[in-house]
Symmetry: C2
Subunit: 121 residues, 2 copies
């Protein structure tokens, strides 16, 4: 088996192990900046969004309000490059470690959380 | 108004501003270690759990599996002292910054996330 095939098998196994059913087809995704470890946002992913995050290396989510797949930064340019995708003991929560281009929040702030500021913010 | 009254008013305003309805009475809580900034777990809180976290200074949650209020560490001793409570732009997610006693995960690991290790773990 080639290195790429091994990686694809490992990714498929990870995705298959996620408990999407508990949340009606979606799981919460904690998004953390890989360098500063700042928590940037909480979003949700369905199986397709998670698969696309793996295959494209760019963060994808499921927008609950728009009920549609959402590539972060597709319109704003505030893309998130995936550095690592992790899950927890219950396999019902995802953690994306990302490199954030620009800012994470639609308000124009580094993080969606009020008290989390970038060093120069 | 005394300093304590001001603080109580500010806490009441924070809690009243949280959108518990979107999640059927509960909101997800990202739990982050205040020193290392490691993400320790994701849990859920209802209004009572959030209020108790403020008033006691110890992390409280709503257990979805047991359908009951849950003081983290009450039986295990793995308590979480609250350092800060924050929310996000949509007011539908909470962030607890905590000092973790012992470990966060029932598996005996520092974090519930597979790849998040303590320095000496």
């Amino acid at each position: 088996m080639s290195e790429m095939e091994k990686q694809q098998e490992s990714t498929a196994k990870f995705i298959d192990g996620i408990d999407f059913e508990k949340g009606g087809g979606i799981v919460p995704v904690i998004v953390q900046d890989s360098k500063s470890k700042d928590v940037l946002m909480l979003a949700y992913a369905n199986k397709e969004a998670l698969s696309l995050s793996f295959s494209t290396g760019m963060a994808h989510y499921w927008s609950r309000s728009r009920a549609s797949l959402w590539k972060k930064g597709e319109t704003s340019g505030n893309l998130q490059t995936i550095k690592k995708i992790d899950t927890d003991c219950d396999r019902d929560t995802i953690l994306y470690l990302v490199d954030q281009v620009g800012v994470a929040c639609h308000r124009g702030t580094w993080s969606c959380f009020d008290s989390v500021k970038k060093n120069d913010e």
